[in-house]
Structures are given as structure tokens and as C-alpha cells.
Symmetry: C2
Subunit: 450 residues, 2 copies
Amino acid sequence: MSRPEIVTRISEDLLEGNIEGIREALSAIHPSEIAGIIQSFDPEDHTKILDALDNETASEVILELDPEQREDILEDFDEEKIADIAEEMDSDDAADLIGELPEQTASTVLSKMDPEEAKDVAPLLKYPEDSAGGIMQAELVKVNQSFTVRDTTNWIRLIAEEVEDFHSIFVTDENDKLLGQISLSKLILASPRAKVENLMEPVEVTVTPYVDQEEVAKIFQKYDIVTLPVIDTRGVLIGRITADDVLDVITEEASEDMLQMAGVGDSLHPIYTPTLTRIKLRTPWLLLTLVGELFIAFIIVYAFQPTLEKVAILAAFMPAIMATGGNVGLQTTTIVIRSLGMGSINVKQIGRIIFSEIRVGLALGVICGLIAAVIGAMISYQQPEVFRLSIAVFIAMVSATMATSFIGVAAPLVLFRLDFDPAAASGPFLTMFNDIFGSVFYLFIAMLIL
Amino acid sequence: MSRPEIVTRISEDLLEGNIEGIREALSAIHPSEIAGIIQSFDPEDHTKILDALDNETASEVILELDPEQREDILEDFDEEKIADIAEEMDSDDAADLIGELPEQTASTVLSKMDPEEAKDVAPLLKYPEDSAGGIMQAELVKVNQSFTVRDTTNWIRLIAEEVEDFHSIFVTDENDKLLGQISLSKLILASPRAKVENLMEPVEVTVTPYVDQEEVAKIFQKYDIVTLPVIDTRGVLIGRITADDVLDVITEEASEDMLQMAGVGDSLHPIYTPTLTRIKLRTPWLLLTLVGELFIAFIIVYAFQPTLEKVAILAAFMPAIMATGGNVGLQTTTIVIRSLGMGSINVKQIGRIIFSEIRVGLALGVICGLIAAVIGAMISYQQPEVFRLSIAVFIAMVSATMATSFIGVAAPLVLFRLDFDPAAASGPFLTMFNDIFGSVFYLFIAMLIL
């Protein structure tokens, strides 16, 4: 069946209250596809469709939904049902799900879960969502150093159901301290009587649970690994992070950077985030710029009104100067923020980076300034002050591009060094700074020259 | 030894020409660390340090360097040396390396490589760098459907050296057509006499080599897999893509989006990209905006000069209107581009998304417009036209935010639908559009009212 056909069939089933029919229609479809199909329906039908699925499928579908949709659906389920669904998930996903619930509901859900599963999930709830502890899962395969390969195989047989998708086996001592790891391919080739302590390889890299998830992502990229063990400060193995969790982290962090730069504040969905939330989260950044811009207006009114009255034409070139300065600054900040995000520049090179960007900014300013001066002169050739006006436009444009280059490269570097998010430097802040140069400084130069 | 100590020691070794000393100093250090250490040295020393390393370590270090640095170093090596280094790499990395060389050098390097290795690498060179074929590797473990588990283990023993880091075994028929796969954990638990065709599971998802790498990344995230088989149109297994390649793809694509939005054109390194290249790649976008902005200047000079001469103060609020409109537009585009990039919105919802964003834009415009009108009136209370001026500011601001919301949401969606990169919609283009509203439309309203 094609997707529209499935949607039609489910719509009919919903009307008829045919739960069995819905389950059947979705039986051969991948959970992430089902998540897409659900979005074609009205919110009140989402719960009905999920109710028709078995708990395992429902759990996978729920993980694929947008956070806002997930929240709506969970509100309609009772704690028993949420507990059943959480039991089907890996501990890290279950912890994320329960972490999104109101505190009261969360503890009820935990208490209704199978104690074995709850034991894995509960400790994960204490770590921040964006830390190694927040993205790790408790399910893993670990064996004592005294185990033979045969013991290990028997152990895997016992727990194969519970732990899915493992690619290496961790070796620990009596106190659960991590000693090493063995890849599955090595295990396959080893003699059944060999001891794991003789086969194991040292673990290249580990993290503690409070390490930031962005750091975790960088470790995965640096070491090209698929599993990263998480240990506590005593060296005890408490979980593992897998590559698929990191894929989500990288996407999330890159989005955060972009949204932060645009002054959006948080991940907003164009449809599912309530309008009021969107307005609330976007307004502060706009007001920040607006205050700065109205301050500019104040200065212009009180300092440059006579100049503007004499040479009204000056106003015509304000947009060009502001836009060019703004674009150059945006280019610079983006390059620096991305380079920081990808770890390809080093804060120790701060002087060299700033010097290098300002030099480029100067070159770009001279190119754009010359063009603007010449075309500006052509546009306003009938004005008596055309020559001086052109010079003011040129000087203002070069100053604006150099100033925004400087602030565009220095602000994110300084924020990064102070352990703030460099992406916060951009957007509204840069716009305001730039516009001061594009208008006030330009009029000041013009006043001096004319 | 700490990093500064290592750097000092290598500096001394370089002065003394003590190759052995360099090798020793770096012997216990991870290749990605070595890549970082190398950046502390002058370019002419990079080659010397790499020369001191064994080929395997050198190959891993080279992969961790920035493309520009890598290019410089490869220019200093002869083809023989490059061939030796490429032989140590996985076929996908070797293909990337050779693909970066001038055509003549590339074919010489291929001919000097071990024929077995060259056979794996050569076919990969024909796929675009950003396609599934460009990121896949030819090394994989495949067995015929008639194999038993014991045959499979023996086969793994034979090729374990060549194929590193595999997590599943592919099962094929006589014509190399992909039939299924077996996870290593299943293989460990199976009886040695069992047939692989009875153990294998169907492959959930495959791609053909010309699929875009962004699509590949989405598949990894959707299906939570660590390996994706690549098949040709006849179903023949030709390679596999692993999660670590995809981590790089996601980072790369997110960067591309951000740089594209900022009008940078391509990945630029603040230090290693030559200044002239940076200027060349950034200028076109700036000129694009500049032309638009100078057109605005032209309109102001010829249409609004009398208005501005009468009420020079009008110019004071141009920055505020342009900045607010610009910020709202940037917020909107960024949200839409990110949502498209993460696959969380559907182009079929185009009408709903546009309507929803314009509504938010209207609300934001009214909030900012009211504030600007009130504070604007306070700033210019001595002016005779203060009341009408405020109204003009309010109307212009609301129109600007609505217009930029519309273009900010519609432009990326339309580009996406037409199969262009939605991120190209932003930055310079949006700035220009916005500034027309922020200045020309504002002055037009003012002219009507005053």
C-alpha cells in the first residue's frame, strides 16, 4: 500500500473504531514511517492510533515523534501505559521519555515499571539531559576478567534478549572497574578456553557521566569509535554511549548553534510549537536589537539632524553601509563559530585569527566601498556635495566592515574562552553593533567632511 | 610528557635532524593528537615530522588534518610515498585522499599502489564525493549463502587483517547479490554447523551509490543502524557505509547550511585558507546585496529627497525598522531551514507553515512596532510631525516583519521543493529584500502620511 492509501484506510478504521484494522494496516511499516503517517492525522487521533499498536512498536514510534507531539500524546496516556511503553525502550531512551514528564507522573511511572528495568533507568535521570550520563544507556555486556571465551559466550546467550546492538564486550574486575574490551570479531576467532584477560585490548578513551554531550561527539569523531564506555570517578563502568545517540547529538548541537545565531533561543517547530511559545522565545532577541536601534535613532535626532536637513541625501546610503557591514560581520562570525564547533581552530591562535579576519574584512570593505562610492556618485551626481558624499560613503563602509570583522571574530572567541556558547555572540548583538557603525559613524564622518 | 614538552622535544629533534627522536616522542600518542601537535609547527616542518612516522600512523594523522594542510603536505611527498600511505587507509579514505590530488598525480599514485588495494580504491573514485559511493568503503565481510557458521569463522580469520571494525556479515548469492545479514552476536551464539542462510536476517535498508550523503545520514538516524550496505542497480553488494563516516557527513552538512546562510559560499578556514581565496569566495554575496542596496539609494534619491528634506528626522528610524525586519526574517528562515535539514517538516504542509509563520511575524511586528512608535515619539517629541511619524514607524515595522516572515518561510520551502539547497535563500538575499521594506516602503508610507 502507498502512504496515501494507508492514511485513507486508517481514517476509515478510525471512523469505524476498528482497532484491529489499524494495527494490521501498520503491521509491516517501519516505526519511523508510522511516526510520519501519524502526522497526517488530527492530534486527537494520534493517541487512538498509538493505542492500536503493540507496546514495542508504540515505543519506537513515540521516540521518532517531535517532542511537542510526544508530550501531547503522553498526556492522554495513564501511568500504567507509559510504564509499559518505557519498559520496551533502551534505558537511555526511557530516561529521556520519563525525564520529559511532570515530576509527579515520572515517579509514578517509575514505580509501575518492572523493577529490573526501573533500576537501569532511575540512575540515568539524575544526569543532565545534554551530558554523557544523559545520553548513555545502562544495558551493556560486561564480563569478569577471569572469564573464558566460553563463559563469555554463555553469558551473552543469557542476556542477548535484554542488550541489543552491542559491538564490543567490556572486561571488568570484581569491583566492576573497567579493565579493557574485546571486539566481537576477536571473540569469534578466539579459542573457547582462552581467558578474556589475555584477549582484551586497552580502552582507548572513556568519559565520566558529567562530560558535555558536545565533547562526547568530538571524541567519537576523533577516535572513529562506535561505542564509548562511561565510567564514574572510581573507574567503575556505569554505561555506554553508542554512535546512533551521537548522530542525534551532532544534529542537535548544529541546530542549536544556528538557532542561537539567529536569535531564536530554542528549537522551535514551525507548526507544533504553540504560537505563544514561539512569540515568547523570539521576542527577547528582537527587543535587544530594538533598544539598540532606538538608541541610534536618539543619537541621530539629537546629533545629526542639522546635517541631515542640509544633506538629506545622506540617508540614501545608510542601508548600503549597514547591509555591507552586517553581511561581512555575519560571514566572519559564522566562519569562526563553525570552526570552533568543528574543533578546527584553537583559541591559542586567537591573535592570528583576529588579525587574519580583519585583513580580509579590510579588503572586502575596500572593494565594496569603492563600488559604492563610484555608483553613489553616479546616483547623486546632481547634488552639490556629490564628491564629499562619496568619500564619506567609502570611509564609512571600510570602517564598518573592519569593525564588524573585528567584533565578528573576537566576540565568539572570547565567549568560547570564557566557556560560554560562542553562537550567542551573533545575530541580534552583531546587528546592533553593526548598525551603530553603519549609521552613526557614517553620519559623523559625513558631518566632518561636508 | 605534556603537550608543550613534546613540542619542545620535537623542536630540538628537528634542529638536530634526529628523526628517530621524533618518532619516539610521538610513539605513544593518538594520531588525532599528533595532528594537533603538528599544527604548532611551521608548515615546512610538517612534512619532516610526518616523514619520521611509520606509514600507518602517518596515514591516520593525515586524515585528521585540515584539507588545506593535507594538500600542502602531499605536495611535498613523491607519488611512491603517497601510495604507501594510501595503502594503509580504508578504501574510502584512500579514495578521498587520491581524489584530492591533481589528476596526473592521482593516476601515478594508483599505479604505484599494491594492485589488490588499488582495485578497491579505483571504483570509488568515480562517485561524487558527497554521494553514498563517495563515502562507502569496499572492504567488508560477505559470505555465500551456502556457508556454514564454521566456514564463516574461517573466512573471517582469513580476512580479519584487511577488514577492520565490522559489525555484521553480509550474505550474498553466487552473483554477489545481497540476500541478508547476520550480526556478530548472533554468529557467536550459533552452532558451527548451522547454515548462514538459515540465520540471516533481511536487510532493513540499502542505498545505491548515487544517493546523496545527506539522505544517507537521514537513513542512519531514522533506522538507528551502524552499517548501511550499498548495492548497485542489480542488487549486487559493492560497499558499506559505517556510522563514523556519517558523523562526519552530518557535521559537514550542518556547516554547509550555516555558511551558505551567511553567504560564505564554501568551508573557509580562518587561518589555513589563503586570504585571496577567502576574499574571492565571500565577495560575490556581498556584491549581490550591495547592488540591491545601491538600488535602494537610487530610489531614495529620486523619489524621497523632498520628503527627507522636509522631515530629516525620518532617517533616524530607518535602522530600527530594517534591523527588526531583518531579525524576524532571519529567525524565520533559520527555523525553516533547520526543520527541513532535520526532516521535521514536510513540504506538503507548505501552506500551513507559511500561514503559521506570518501570524507569528505579525505578532512580533505589532509588539516591536508599538514599542518603536512610543519610544520614537518620546525621542522626537520636539518635532512638529511627531504623531504622524510614529504612525509611519509602526506601519512600516509591521509591514516589514510580515514581509520578511513571508519571504523567510517561503523562499527556503520553494527552493527545497525545486531541489535546490534551501540555505541558499538566506543571508544576502534576505537582507536585500528586507532593506527595501525597511527603507523604501517606510519612506513611502511616511510620504503619504506626512
